[in-house]
């Protein structure tokens, strides 16, 4: 474990030491590679039993969810167990406005979904963020369940447990077709019959949806990076580490907690909207409380507060049950055990943020100089 950690740390340090142009080249190459994943269809990674494009779409979608939840849990330190509620509200906003009660185009529905979830985040957060951390977890859990019960029971609005169908797709702009690679052992051939058309959104091909979701991931990732490196990000970190101290230093902690909660909610709503347009059919069973735990597992496994860690964890936890089908039935059992094991042996997650590692290091080097009250000894 320690070797792996120092190896990963070494790779990260070496990457940071590269000149700026090399970093940009590397980032662009990585981005292109990730975009082309469903075309390259890499052996060992591709899934035999389920459509690889659809699996990749889910990976990107859950990466988006994980980035959003990471803002709430990782940056602001608020354990939100009802994230599926925001995901559901986003999906149902698209369903209700795009198909059930109006026929708005999808490109209008997605921003509306984000606005609606943002508002619902503020409505839930404004009263509840004043309560203690462990209570907040239970309140949000209750919220996630209330949302589902309302979806089932508010028949007139949501069509109840029958669900909403024929949710609109994004407008198709057909530009060019790309043939996919096919692998025979380690030899690749181009399969000209199996193509993906760039930006033709259809039921049969999930790849354009993957590209769409990935684009949203990159946009949100950029905003997330700018936000964390700003005054807002520092305020979140201060609030998470010591709320009272932050308040004394003049950080309006409640307002920043609410901001984190609402931002996270809006990203959850965006992911829900993407989910709805890809599935074209949603019903309340898509939004059970199990998924909230799955989302929390992604953030905790990846390392709370590290955006790259949670993305990797989200992709891994989505991909593994699809790749190894025998895991699929037992996946929630395994996630439960995983959460327990990590909480006990590695609470900071597999890839903790650098600052956590540094702080821990400093603690280990100078444990005796600070006593229990945090006052330096003479």
């Amino acid at each position: 474990m320690n070797q792996v950690r120092s190896f990963l740390g070494g790779v990260a340090d070496r990457f940071r030491a590269l000149p700026r142009w090399a970093k940009i080249v590397f980032a662009v190459a990585l981005t292109v590679f990730v975009y082309l994943l469903p075309i390259i269809n890499p052996p060992f990674i591709t899934t035999q039993d389920s459509d690889f494009g659809a699996v990749l779409f889910l990976c990107a979608l859950y990466a988006l969810v994980a980035i959003g939840l990471n803002i709430v849990i990782g940056y602001a330190g608020l354990l939100d167990l009802g994230y599926i509620g925001f995901f559901a509200i986003g999906a149902y906003t698209v369903g209700v406005l795009g198909s059930q009660h109006a026929k708005l185009p999808l490109l209008l529905c997605i921003p509306l979904a984000m606005v609606v979830t943002l508002i619902s985040g503020v409505i839930l957060g404004a009263p509840t963020l004043r309560v203690r951390g462990d209570y907040l977890a239970i309140v949000t859990l209750g919220f996630g369940e209330i949302v589902r019960l309302i979806l089932v029971n508010a028949d007139g609005l949501t069509n109840g447990s029958r669900g909403i169908s024929s949710i609109p797709s994004p407008p198709s702009v057909e530009l060019f077709s790309i043939p996919k690679l096919e692998w025979n052992g380690l030899v690749a051939t181009l399969n000209l019959d199996n193509t993906s058309t760039a930006f033709k959104f259809s039921v049969t091909d999930s790849v354009p949806y993957y590209w769409l979701a990935l684009t949203f991931v990159l946009i949100v990732l950029f905003l997330d990076w700018r936000m964390q490196n700003s005054r807002v990000g520092r305020a979140w970190e201060a609030t998470r580490e010591d709320e009272d101290a932050a308040e004394l230093m003049g950080v309006p902690t409640f307002r920043f907690k609410l901001l984190a909660f609402a931002t996270g909610a809006a990203i959850g709503g965006l992911s829900g909207a993407l989910f709805a347009t890809k599935q074209q059919f949603i019903n309340p069973d898509n939004f059970t409380i199990l998924y909230s735990v799955l989302f929390v597992a992604m953030v905790v496994v990846g390392g709370q507060g590290n955006r790259w860690g949670v993305i990797v964890a989200a992709a891994l936890l989505t991909w593994a049950p699809e790749k190894f089908r025998f895991l699929a039935d037992a996946r929630f059992l395994l996630f439960g055990i995983l959460l327990m094991v990590l909480a006990i042996f590695r609470p900071q997650g597999l890839i903790p943020p650098r600052r956590t590692v540094r702080a821990k290091h400093a603690d280990e080097q100078a444990p005796d100089t600070i006593d229990a009250e945090g006052v330096a000894r003479a």
Binding site: D134, Y135, I138, N153, I289, V293, A330, M340, A343
Partner: protein
């Protein structure tokens, strides 16, 4: 919104509400005990309840409880209580050993403990939902079909008790099941209350809740007290499981979740960490839920409980009786 049903069926709603409330209260005692001593929300307590319910169902199936009649029913009921309470207490002990003690030794922050508890809860519930798998791996699909077949479906309680209407309050005829549930719950609560308030071990629990370090200095074995609270909470959840089976008639692998959140609501309502508060909270929640159901319609029943939880946390996060196992001489 229709208040006529509420007024016309007021006695019935109150009495069945109290019966459900008794179940919530017994489970809430487990949350409150553990919270009082460890300052930890034992999220997996709902699964402790669920395992107790399955234990009662299976033991009665194995002993042929379905054919019981007359006085035999009372005997089987006693067996059901004993087996459910034993299994629940053992599961609670296991939980403490596997999911919480390692964290306590490391002084983990409360959120990490909560994550571990959530993990344990889902692992336990999914393990029950996948109980046919190990038999399939070993090619024994047909072994123990009655017990492990269709693990995602509800398992019915084998003991059949005829509903007898004993006497009436207002326009509601009180049934024997209501009386059994309420009577058993009240006996349990009195026993627990007296145990915590009067016995030597109970004094240890109160001491650790009040000040763990001072208690340790006075010679209280903290680990033993913690184990004891888990056992007591587990036994109460086991008793609640049998009452739940009497009232509802079946149990599923995920029955614990909803009931757990409601029981937690009850504990918070009364003031978490306060035993008598948990009882009060349980009864109030059960009755409020029934009234809410009458006013808003049955499908909104669960929403009432969750909304109540949010409202209490907003306006009185310490609960009705205040939260403290030690100070309130609970």
């Amino acid at each position: 919104m229709d208040f006529s049903l509420l007024f016309s069926h007021f006695p019935e709603l109150t009495i069945t509400g109290l019966a459900y409330g008794a179940i919530y209260a017994l489970i809430a005692l487990g949350y409150t005990l553990v919270y009082g001593v460890l300052r930890l929300i034992n999220f997996a307590h709902s699964e402790v309840f669920m395992y107790g319910a399955f234990a009662a169902v299976w033991v009665l199936m194995a002993l042929g409880g379905g054919k019981a009649s007359g006085l035999g029913i009372a005997g089987y009921l006693l067996i059901a209580f004993l087996s459910a309470m034993t299994v629940s207490a053992l599961i609670a002990l296991l939980l403490e050993r596997v999911a919480y003690r390692p964290l306590r030794k490391r002084n983990s922050p409360p959120l990490i403990a909560l994550i571990s508890a959530i993990g344990a809860s889902f692992a336990l519930s999914e393990a029950m939902g996948l109980r046919d798998k190990p038999f399939k791996w070993f090619g024994q699909e047909n072994a123990f079909q009655d017990y492990v077949g269709r693990p995602r479906e509800a398992s019915p309680f084998p003991l059949k008790i005829d509903v007898v209407r004993l006497f009436s309050i207002g326009n509601y005829q009180v049934s024997n099941i209501d009386l059994i549930v309420l009577g058993a719950a009240i006996v349990m609560m009195i026993v627990l209350d007296q145990f915590v308030n009067r016995s030597r071990l109970g004094r240890g629990i109160r001491a650790v809740a009040q000040d763990p370090e001072a208690a340790a200095l006075m010679g209280v074995n903290r680990d033993r007290v913690i184990r004891l609270t888990f056992v007591l909470g587990g036994a109460m959840a086991g008793a609640a499981a049998v009452m739940y089976l009497l009232k509802v008639g079946q149990v599923r692998y995920n029955s614990g979740f909803l009931l757990g959140v409601k029981a937690f609501t009850a504990a918070v309502l009364g003031g978490i960490g306060n035993l008598r508060g948990a009882l009060l909270g349980g009864f109030i929640l059960g009755v409020a839920e029934n009234y809410g159901q009458a006013v808003f319609g049955g499908e909104w029943r669960d929403v009432v409980a969750f909304t109540l939880l949010v409202v209490i946390l907003l306006f009185r996060p310490t609960g009705l009786l205040g939260e403290s196992l030690g100070k309130a001489r609970a």
